[in-house]
Each structure stands twice: as C-alpha cells, then as structure tokens.
C-alpha cells in the first residue's frame, strides 16, 4: 500500500478531522470516498488540496446531466476512424491516378483499433499509479451513471470499447477516488455500498475562523469576527439559500481592499452583500429583518 498515511490538511486547507479520518480509511481499504454536504463546504477542495500537497497527478471528471460512462472511462472515436478509413480509399485512388501527394492519418492505423480510443479521466487515473481521481457532483448525473460505475469500482478494472483492451489497477496502485455530491438526487444503494461515506457538517465558528485564517492570513481579527457575526446571523434567519463557506470567503476578499475601520463600517451597512446572498427573496427578507433596526444590528455585529 503506497499512499495510505493519515493526511490532515495542508497550509492552505483545513481538513476537518472527521473527514481526514474517513479519507484515510477509504484509502486504506481501497474504496472510493463519497462526500456529501451543503454546497460550498469544501467537498471538491479535499481532492485538489490533497493532490497538490502530496504532489500527485489528479484527474477530474465534472459530472453533468449528459455524463455517461463512455466519457468517464474511454470513448471510441468513430469520427476519426471513419475519416481514416476513407483516407485509405482516397489514397488508393490517388495512387491509381499517379498522384504523389497523400493524405495523412497522423500515424494512426485503422488496423489498430486501440489508436482510436480516447481515454477519459478514469482510464487515465487507473493507468497512472497513486493518482487522485475526482468525480465531482455525481448527483447531477443521469440515473444509470452511478450504476454503470459499479463494476469498475469493485473490480478496479475497465474494458476499453471496441478494442477490448483491459485497464486494470492493483489495490496498491489504486488512485484515491473522491466522489462529491450535493444530494440533489438519491444515489443507488448498491453504489453507496461500495463507497466510504462522509457527510460534511457545516463548520462551527472555531473551524470557520481557522478556515478564514488560511485563506486570508492578514485579515484583521476584528474584521473577521464581525464578518462571522453577520454571517452566522444571516444563516440563522432561515434563508432559502443560506450563505456558505465559499460566500464568506468571497465577501472577505472584497473587504480586504479597505482599511479596518472602513471595512467595519461597510460590513455594518452590509456592503457587498451580493457576495453572500444569492436570491431576491432572501435579500428582501434580510432587508425586512435588519433594516428595521439598522443601528441595533450594527452594534451587535461589530461587537466582539
């Protein structure tokens, strides 16, 4: 077993201890780690940061509503194959007419079907030992997609289309597979059974402070505190789309350009609120709640 040591995060990334443990466990057992949780809690970040920190190759497959296993594993390029076979015909015809110039197939031979296979992220990851394979937002996929992955996940083996070649990886060299989901659709039980499951809970204040510190190390404590006060206050309002980690980080990025005093004043006025709040209904709700008594709100948020 190569890369199975317990990884707890890097300089830039706070890895929740529970998540780190699940991740470790998944790698030791050679199983994919399925991460679910609210958007913006750093699900995707785990794979990216782990790969960067450990200097491993990373392959990403962003899942969409049109995703299928062919794209993920490997695809036979019918277009090129057909083109090349037509070129052979053309070249013969040119030969007969005594023409010298020939069309090139770019070194591919229609005899070798393997030349026409485009490897997807999965096939690439499985053929490079100890890489990281990220399957992002699997809940966006058509329903049969996760089921189609079952064989590959439990046998660590892909069969290439048309050529019939097999890409196989031993458990020792298996890539660390990280799958993320926003729970927009329920994943099949059989699929979940093959993964180690982890649900990311929303970070509490202490963890949040740490996260902010990693992203904005020079931020004034006062500003951070005020931002967090407002942030958690907004989350408690029961908004349609509550702001998440990503949003508070963006907001602070905006505040970074101002001096402490100015930033505090701007926060009190909810300047740049667009970074935190993403729907009209929520914005109206906040205005109702906060603008009713702006002075009180300012006092509460800006105190420590």
């Amino acid at each position: 077993m190569a890369k199975t040591q317990h990884w707890t995060g890097s300089k830039k990334y706070v890895c929740d201890p529970n998540l780190a443990q699940s991740f470790h466990m998944a790698r030791v057992l050679g199983m994919p780690l399925l991460i679910e949780g609210e958007p913006g809690t750093g699900k995707t970040e785990l794979a990216i940061q782990y790969a960067t920190d450990q200097k491993l190759d990373m392959f990403t497959y962003p899942v969409g509503s049109k995703s299928n296993v062919e794209q993920f594993v490997a695809k036979f390029d019918h277009v090129k194959y057909l083109r090349d076979s037509q070129i052979e015909v053309l070249n013969t015809q040119r030969d007969e007419k005594g023409l010298d110039s020939k069309l090139s197939t770019g070194g591919r031979s229609t005899e070798k079907l393997g030349d026409y296979i485009i490897k997807g992220p999965a096939a690439q990851a499985f053929s490079s030992p100890n890489s990281v394979l990220l399957i992002d937002e699997i809940d966006k996929a058509p329903r049969e997609f996760p089921n189609d992955l079952l064989y590959a996940l439990s046998h660590r083996k892909f069969i290439m289309p048309e050529s019939g070649d097999v890409i196989e990886v031993s458990e020792e060299n298996m890539p660390a597979i990280i799958i993320t989901s926003n729970r927009e659709q329920e994943l099949p039980t059989a699929f979940k059974g093959r993964c180690i499951y982890h649900y990311i809970h929303f970070p509490e204040q202490d963890t949040m402070r740490e996260i902010i510190l990693k992203h904005h190390p020079k931020m004034e404590k006062q500003v951070t505190q005020a931002a967090m006060n407002i942030f958690y206050h907004l989350r408690d309002l029961g908004l349609e789309r509550a702001p998440t980690t990503r949003e508070i980080l963006n907001w602070l990025k905006y505040m970074k350009q101002f001096a402490t005093k100015e930033a505090l004043a701007k926060m009190g006025d909810l300047d740049g609120i667009g970074a935190l709040i993403k729907t009209q209904t929520d914005l109206e709700k906040i205005q109702r709640h906060i603008l009713r008594n702006p002075e009180d709100f300012k006092k509460r948020s800006l105190s420590n």
Binding site: H78, R143, Q185, Y197
Partner: protein, 441 residues
C-alpha cells in the same frame, strides 16, 4: 454471535449485511481498528450512507457494543446515566482515578470520551502540545519520561491494541461485557472482561497522562450529545419543511432519461452518398421516455385545511423539480366530470380532456379521501376508475394518519381503486417504488 451485528443494525433501519462484516474484518487486517472508538468510526464509514442514518447508527452502536438502549425520545446522556455499563465503568474509573471528584454528569462526558477515543485522537494528542500544556504538569512529566523514543507506538501499545486480535475475538470480548452487565455477576472481576484488556483501550493510558477531551475525543462527545444530526429524523412523520427534501429525493427516482449519443447509420449513409462516398459519421441523441407528472390536488373542504401548508410545500418543491413536465389539476373532495387548472377552481377541464394525456404520466393524487358517503357517487367512482385505468402509474397520497383510513368509508373505497400511501417521505418513497416496478414490466 458475530452474525448478530448486521441483524442488530438492521433493526435500527440501517443497511448492514454480510459485506459490512467483511469490510470490518478488512479494516481490522489493515490496522484501522485499535480502540472501540475506531470501531465506531470505521463502522460509521461503512454503514452510514446518508445523514439521516447518523442517529440510528449511534443508537445501534451503543446498543450493540455497550448494551445501552435509548428509549424513544431519551437523550443519550440519560440513557448512559441509567445503564449498568456506565455504573460499572464509574466504579472502575473511580478506582483508577481517586482524585477525580467530578459529579456523574461530567463523568458521562468522560465516559463518552473514552468510548469514542480513536487511534487518530491518540496520535493527535501525542503529536500535539496537549501533553506538555496539560493542566497537571507534574504527573504528566513523570509519565512522559518513561516513554521511549517512539511515544506514539508505546502509548498505543499501552492502550488496548486490537490490531493483533481478530474480529471474532474482539466482538466476543465486547459481547461478554454486555452479557456481564445483564447478568450482574461481576464480583471482583473487572467489568471490562477477561484478560485485563479494556475495550475502551484507555485505562492504562489515561493514567499515563492522556486526557481525552482535548481536540479529539472531547469533540466527539460534544458532537454525539449536542448535535441534532445525531438523532433520528422520524421518517414516518407527516411531511414538514425539513423532510420534504428527503421525500423528493425519492421522487426523483422515477426519472429515466439517458443522454448518450450513438451513430446515426441512416443519416451517415445518406449524407455519405451525397458527398460522393465520403462517409462522415452523424451522431444522434438517444432519447428515452422522460418523467412526466400529473398532480391532482384536493384543495377544498375543511378536512383538508390542516394539511394545506404541507401540500403546498410538496407542490412547490415538485414544481421546481419538474418545471416542464408537470401538470397540476385541482378538485374538491372528489371529481365528477371536471377538474380545475387553477387553485381557486374557476378554469374547468373535463375528465375526457384529462384522459387524453399520455398514459406514461405518473399521477399523484393528494387528498384525504374522506367525505360524506353520498358525495362519492356512482359517477365519481366511474371517473376515478377511468383515471386509474388510463394511468397505470398512479398513486394516492393521503395526509391523514393511516390508522384512521380504516374508519372512513370513502377512503376505503378509493383505496380499492388507487394504491394509497400516507403523505410521508416513506409513503412517497414507496409509491415511487411501486410505480417503478410497473414501468419495468
């Protein structure tokens, strides 16, 4: 005995089976399990497959490994307090830590810390400054001295190290403990069982200056006790804001569409001939039947009043999910020859028109199905029958508690025409499952 683990966990509605045991054994072989806390962690990764499993999982774990059973609505804390396991633990703990004079409630936290102490925590505590900065430097210094160059290894050794033991043995040992609590014949024996190895893997180490409650174990305890996510959400309760999403997750299960492309042979040949024999591949999308939903909502009558909000919530969520493929009709109590396309019931649509819809529509009827017997006349029954005949994938979702259905004649009558399910996440899930079965035929 080993085999009883999946069974016990299944009792709590968790998806445990033989594979769970195989994986547990594998984890053991790979050295992931050294303490009871590790068992909790590893089993969690294997068994828990969605957030709502967390509560039942914690319950099942406490029941199976520690013989602590939660009564309905009881907090973990008080279940521990009244358990024999805890009483025994306190006895031993006091023996080992005579200077600790905290009251029982604090000891519960200590107990949970010990239960959930994982080898990760031990590492973290040993790596971190916790030991040096601890609140009792003298005592710890002494112990720190006799740790050799590899403190980590040594401490884990001093804690019960289960990596050498196989799974049966470990479980056997834990089971024995549980039995002992039941049989109250502990005598002078340490409650932790034979061999002096504690399943908590702590007692030696706790003396050695490792106090849980630092960054690792203590956090776990707080999470178990203080976090709502660790308690079960009642899936059989009537739909509310919180679980409506869970319900819809299963509703989405009836989507069946693919987005693959395949070679369009006809078109390729046709265009190839036009191009003088150069065949360029033409691709086409594979389209499958899409999910189409008809909602029939009973929005009239006093009997439906208490459920209006709930139905609205479900409706709103459904609308965002099936924006393009959902048709909504309203009716009052029952249908005669019309349904309505708007909520105030002004725009009529005849049943015949309704029946011209594609039979592949899934029909959800939401209503309490209770009315005066004369209201459900022959006409109405025939019309309901026609709907059921046309749309094979139809289900009636009833917000009224299932136990009352039996008493209402009209509910029974309609229940014979449509499969009827309670308007709960589980009910919706079931209705969707049944629909999917029909599709497969």
């Amino acid at each position: 005995m080993l085999a009883s683990l999946p069974e016990k966990f299944r009792e709590y509605g968790l998806p445990a089976d033989v594979r769970t045991l195989l994986l547990l054994r594998k984890s053991m072989d790979r050295g992931l399990i050294k303490t009871l806390g590790d068992v909790y962690l590893v089993l969690k990764g294997i068994v828990v497959k969605e957030p709502r499993h967390m509560g039942p999982y914690t319950q099942a774990y406490y029941d199976y490994f520690l013989n602590i059973k939660l009564k309905p609505g009881e907090s973990l804390e008080s279940a521990i307090l009244r358990s024999e396991t805890f009483k025994k633990w306190v006895e031993d703990y006091k023996k080992d830590n005579p200077e600790d004079e905290r009251d029982l409630l604090d000891l519960v936290e200590e107990f949970i810390n010990h239960v959930h102490l994982t080898s990760y925590d031990i590492k973290e505590i040993l790596n971190g400054k916790d030991i040096i900065d601890g609140d009792d430097p003298n005592k710890e210094d002494k112990d720190w001295d006799d740790l050799s160059s590899t403190p980590e290894r040594k401490n884990i050794d001093r804690m019960a190290d289960y990596s050498e033991m196989d799974l049966e043995e470990l479980l056997e040992r834990m089971k024995q403990i549980a039995e002992k609590q039941k049989g109250k014949h502990s005598g002078g024996d340490r409650w932790i069982g034979t061999g002096g190895v504690s399943p908590f893997g702590h007692s030696g180490a706790a003396k050695g200056g490792i106090r849980t409650g630092g960054k690792g174990g203590g956090k776990m305890a707080r999470q178990v006790m203080g976090n709502g996510n660790f308690y079960p959400v009642d899936r059989d309760s009537i739909i509310n804001d919180n679980n409506v999403d869970a319900a819809l997750a299963s509703l989405k299960g009836i989507v069946e569409e693919t987005a693959q492309t395949k070679l369009d042979v006809d078109k390729t040949i046709k265009n190839g001939l036009k191009q003088g024999g150069i065949f360029l591949p033409e691709m086409e999308d594979i389209k499958d039947k899409k999910l189409q939903v008809i909602l029939l909502i009973d929005n009239g009558g006093f009997s439906m009043m208490p459920y209006v909000r709930m139905v609205q919530d479900l409706f709103k969520k459904m609308k965002t999910r099936f924006a393009h493929d959902m048709k909504v009709y309203y009716f009052h109590n029952t249908i005669y020859s019309y349904v309505y396309t708007d909520a105030p019931r002004t725009k009529k649509v005849t049943i015949d028109k309704l029946l011209t819809n594609d039979p592949n529509y899934r029909v959800f009827i939401i209503g309490d199905a209770s009315m005066a017997p004369y209201e459900l006349n022959q006409d109405s029954v025939i019309n309901w029958g026609r709907i059921a005949e046309k749309f094979k994938k139809a289900a009636w979702l009833n917000p009224e508690p299932q136990k009352y259905w039996h008493y209402t004649m009209t509910t029974q009558a309609l229940g014979r025409i449509f499969p009827m399910y309670p308007l709960t996440p589980r009910g919706i899930e079931k209705s969707v499952q049944e629909m999917n079965k029909k599709m497969d035929k």
